[in-house]
Symmetry: C2
Subunit: 202 residues, 2 copies
DNA sequence: TAACTATATTAACAGTGTTAATAATAAATA
DNA sequence: TATTTATTATTAACACTGTTAATATAGTTA
């Protein structure tokens, strides 16, 4: 494809193409394995062209993260509208995140373990982002359980922290133990969920 | 220091010096931030000299990991000899790992999250290593609780998996949430331990 | 003294993220 | 229509990276 054909593309459309290719490379090769030159070759452009559409490597990652959180946010709202029991809602919300991680460990790692793309907690809460929205709705799901008097007397923020810790741990273990079979991983993960909700409830 | 003085050093002693400096660089700058050239400058040798004492970058990391597991192994045996109640022994064993991670998140990350230095679970169990020894003694601590009839009917390997998941999660969260205050981190972590042991016991 | 071994060095290869300068085309204006 | 301007793409370059090959030097032994 020559330079003339390349110019025919529309800006937004091309940005999407770059982002989709970038996600593939990020997920397949990890944050370190990803390279601007590799992505450039994949989309058949020079490496510097990417810089016209994204500030840098981390800007690409940020865009990918926001897309994930947009989906997660929508799913949490859906779960909330479907389940009536607050504890069951919490369980399903947690399971969704964990199962996403088990099915897409590389993407989970990319979003949660690679870099602190959203800065500090204060910065996350101050700046508008899908990550912020997701954080708030998850917190509300926990608060619903507390309001219904279902949980032991533990600060809502602490519960949110412990649950995200647990989810992170499931995926971290899954990634670290190279030959952790899918079945074994699932068994341990779901056992952990049971233990957690058992230990949390009155 | 000229080439003549450098030659006076003894091999084993020098290997130690390199390893200690390498640990510092690895912990301060992370796995990616570490570079052979950086380490070489620190010890005032050329980068290639390091290759006479260690096979490569990952060989340095392996040596650092083995040192950690040697300490962890010794500590687990000590805890086991001090506490009588098996559940309390398990709690202390778990707390030791978790608190190490909270105090040394970068080193914990280096050992558990960076690379699968010990390969698959099968490879870990087959090859002699301090990591293997540590794995076995931790499993025995859990088995003692089961033998004493203190825990719910859950496979010992599954319990070990869930506990290591939890510990990994605490540290992963601690690292990811940039401005997670030390206090907040400690509260969530210790709450998680309570929830876990509560959910595990009969 | 000559040969050999151990230890250290420099130079090089192929790769990285990113910036600066430049070319070329499309669009807008005189 | 001719000319200027804006947009988009390019190449070249900088300072890094892990690692290997070839080379030089010092110490030990025959």
């Amino acid at each position: 494809m020559g330079i003339i054909e390349k110019r025919a593309k529309h800006k937004e459309e091309f940005r999407r193409e770059i982002l989709d290719s970038a996600r593939e490379v990020f997920i397949n090769d990890g944050y370190d394995g990803f390279s601007m030159r590799k992505l450039a070759e994949k989309i058949d452009y020079s490496p510097t062209t990417i810089y016209l559409y994204f500030k840098n490597k981390d800007d690409l990652l940020f865009a990918i993260c926001e897309e994930f959180f947009a989906n997660f946010f929508a799913e949490l709202n859906h779960i909330r509208s479907v389940f009536r029991d607050p504890v069951e809602t919490l369980r399903q919300a947690f399971l969704y995140l964990m199962n996403f991680g088990l099915k897409n460990p590389n993407q989970y790692k990319l979003i949660f373990f690679t870099k602190s793309v959203y800065g500090t907690r204060e910065e996350l809460v101050e700046q508008v982002s899908m990550a912020r929205n997701t954080y708030f709705v998850f917190k509300e799901i926990v608060q619903d359980c507390i309001n219904a008097g279902k949980l032991r007397k533990i600060e809502v923020d602490v519960i949110v922290d412990t649950l995200s810790m647990a989810s992170h741990g499931v995926i971290a273990k899954n990634i670290h133990c190279a030959n952790f079979s899918k079945e074994r991983s699932d068994v341990a993960a779901h056992t952990l969920v049971d233990i957690l909700l058992r230990g949390l409830q009155k």
